[in-house]
Subunit: 443 residues, 2 copies
């Protein structure tokens, strides 16, 4: 490996990664880089190599088998290793994590981080240092876990003036609110269940009192408007002691659901940044976001409403976004004289299935003579063609022919060719009054 | 302007754009580049300048005031203009559009296009030429209009193996299906209404028979798996003659809604690419996508389910994504020795509103003595503080104190400080049995 200062000359096809922090997310990123090295290379044209992982604890089993010599307890050595082109900070908080991030940026190395607290509280300093040192800093996983919302704001919506962002950004709160709504239980019972399920900490303050959401709101505001508010001065209300089961019922009566929202808006009077439990229309997209899922609804002057939805936390979803950032930094490093990859380059021969091979569940609507034995005959035809019936229901259909009944069949998984053969045979049954209608089912 | 071949030396801060095609989307992109030049420069660090717009028709008023000398009818001159760094193709189809795209790539110029037909039918050739000439090709608006779904697959989810994509990618079909579902009308009536509203063409074949969705499915498959299927051999079913009002009713009885889906999947047996009207669970995110909106649900091995939602067509949403692509190409051109912008650089002093200034609608729950005059007294307090009531409803709440009634008030827009003052005054009313509870409303 040549010295990384010789970046104009060395083979750009291989880029080294060093991870700081081998906890839940760090282990997920390490596993993802090792397991998906092939698809990553196809999609980016670059071989991204995990060089080092640093953690104070180098003995606990994280469920990831690292190559020999990768694990170390010396974070500064990882940062200064010439084979490490990208430093990934997954320690969290504003202590040593921030020290290491600053050291990496000082060394001119690009940093990928998921550290929302550091960016919300010290964003101006960190981004200022990155700009001064001409080093990239990527932070996609700091908001929304596995959802590329930061990417969307920075790139996809770059041409827009952002009118507003409404985010459901804390899975713990959304799980609790969903449970209160669906089961009519009070906050305390829903929190206890969230804690049993591992969706809430023993001390849930950061989540249920809105501070986690506020950190994320501050980062979204920085991306949308280039500002770094002092988060201590922003309005934050959580759900604990605020939202009662009765409110959720009444909101439902009014056609609303209650969600804990991060709200970021700009109008002529200024920028609004806050966190508050809020009624949202039940037929809107935000109301459909339930359980631990997160989403952000972004309104741009050109794009109109766009929404980004997915898992807001967890080892693998967060690793997904961190690795996406690593891939982009790697492409940036390699970009000098290297074409961007529009679509992945696959050298394997990929087989595309014929239509008949495709397996799915099916919905079939039959018109059957309203006589004993019709349904048995039809069911027999399905069975003869290897199509297994999950449910068959007689339905009232006013436009049905006299003397015939409408029957809806839901099948288990079946190949299209088998279903087609069954339907053709059904059409030939004397008791079948019309060609069967079919639709797929995707659960 | 220096010669663009001198790309290593010239001032990278200004990047020139040439647009081919001044129709609906072309005019939207031109307007967006002109109107949002300031925010774009803040977010990218680059001054993106509209240099040329070519169209055979240079007389029709497109509602956009172009600077003097920008409009021309000579597309090749735009491609060959040294001041044009990025060529944006918005003509569509596989005729002259493809000729111009190939000419631009031959000249080594990066291309941004929204041309789904060309990429679906000639993707291997176009992407091959781009790779050979070391030229970028960006095509974010070819699928999903204003939704950055292509970006998500290429960048945000780069670290994932994509298990499946389920897309609602044709707004015309989704409008028709939504109308059939909500109003119980047959296909023909819903199509006629879509045509009246301008959501369907006079000849709706491409949309309602599934071909538009199929083109998009092919592009998503190329991004997910690096393959270029012959679209003529893929399974496609539309909604015309397939989905009847009765099916939608029965699906609803079963807890499903019917959507026209692009389905792209991979398993050990191969890749599945098809278009079919499909039942989706009514409590899932895809079922919530109604009217002309589009969405894609992407399942990655790390990310889990993620969903991208927004306007799938239309002048401004499509322009939003095209401009996002232009911004990324511009950053790529400028990247040589130029730092990426992590957050926008704003030189303006941006004011952040105090919590009290923030205006929204509010939901207030009151406990009021069950006596004549209580509601009038409470309403008077709202009015005294400048908070206007949109609705007040008495609600049954079992846990209410004896002798008191629960009243829910929905306000019009009101400043937080006014509401807080009103609530404080309400708390002091003798008829008020408990401190009022409040929540925001975001419609």
């Amino acid at each position: 490996m040549q010295d990384s200062n010789d970046s104009g000359k060395k083979d750009k096809r291989q880029i080294g990664v060093g991870i700081l922090g081998f906890g839940t997310v760090g282990a997920g990123v390490a596993a993802g880089l090792l397991d998906n090295r092939g698809p990553l290379a196809e999609r980016t044209g670059i071989d991204i190599v995990l060089r080092k992982v640093a953690d104070l604890d180098v003995t606990t089993d994280r469920g990831v088998k690292l190559p020999e010599g990768v694990l170390t307890n010396d974070a500064m050595a990882v940062i200064n290793d010439p084979a490490v082109d990208i430093v990934v900070e997954l320690i969290g908080g504003c202590g040593v994590a921030m020290k290491f991030v600053k050291a990496a940026l000082q060394a001119g190395k690009p940093v990928v981080t998921a550290n929302k607290k550091m960016l919300a509280e010290h964003g101006a300093e960190i981004f200022g240092l990155a700009a001064e040192k001409n080093a990239d800093i990527f932070f996609g996983a700091s908001v929304g876990g596995g959802i590329p919302i930061i990417r969307a704001l920075r790139d996809g919506l770059a041409g827009n003036r952002i009118a507003s962002i409404h985010g459901i950004l804390n899975g713990t709160c959304n799980y609790i609110l969903t449970k209160m709504e669906r089961e009519g239980v009070p906050f305390e019972a829903a929190l206890a269940e969230a804690q049993r399920q591992g969706f809430a900490e023993a001390d849930p303050t950061l989540d249920v009192d809105g501070f986690d959401t506020l950190h994320k709101a501050a980062i979204l505001a920085a991306l949308a408007y280039g500002i770094f508010p002092d988060v201590r001065h922003l309005a934050v209300r959580g759900i604990r002691g605020v939202v009662e089961a009765a409110d959720i019922r009444f909101a439902a009566d009014l056609g609303y659901r209650i969600k804990l929202l991060a709200i970021v808006k700009q109008d002529d009077a200024g920028v609004e940044i806050r966190v508050a439990p809020t009624l949202v229309p039940e037929d809107g997209m935000l109301a459909s976001v339930s359980g631990v899922f997160n989403a952000a609804l972004v309104k741009g002057d050109l794009s109109g409403d766009t929404l980004y939805y997915g898992r807001g936390a967890g080892r693998l979803p967060t690793a997904s976004t961190v690795i996406g950032d690593i891939a982009e930094v790697a492409r940036g490093i390699a970009a000098d004289g290297w074409p961007r990859i529009a679509v992945p380059r696959t050298s394997r021969a990929v087989r595309i299935k014929d239509a008949g091979e495709i397996v799915s569940r099916h919905y079939v609507r039959l018109s059957l003579a309203d006589t004993p034995g019709s349904l048995a005959a039809a069911a027999g035809v399905f069975g003869d063609h290897g199509v297994s019936i999950q449910a068959a229901l007689q339905k009232s259909m006013p436009e049905e022919r006299p003397g015939f009944a409408t029957v809806v069949v839901m099948t288990h998984q079946a190949a299209q060719s088998d279903l087609d053969a069954a339907l053709a045979a059904l059409s030939r049954l004397p008791c079948c009054g019309a060609p069967p209608c079919r639709l797929g089912i995707e659960d």
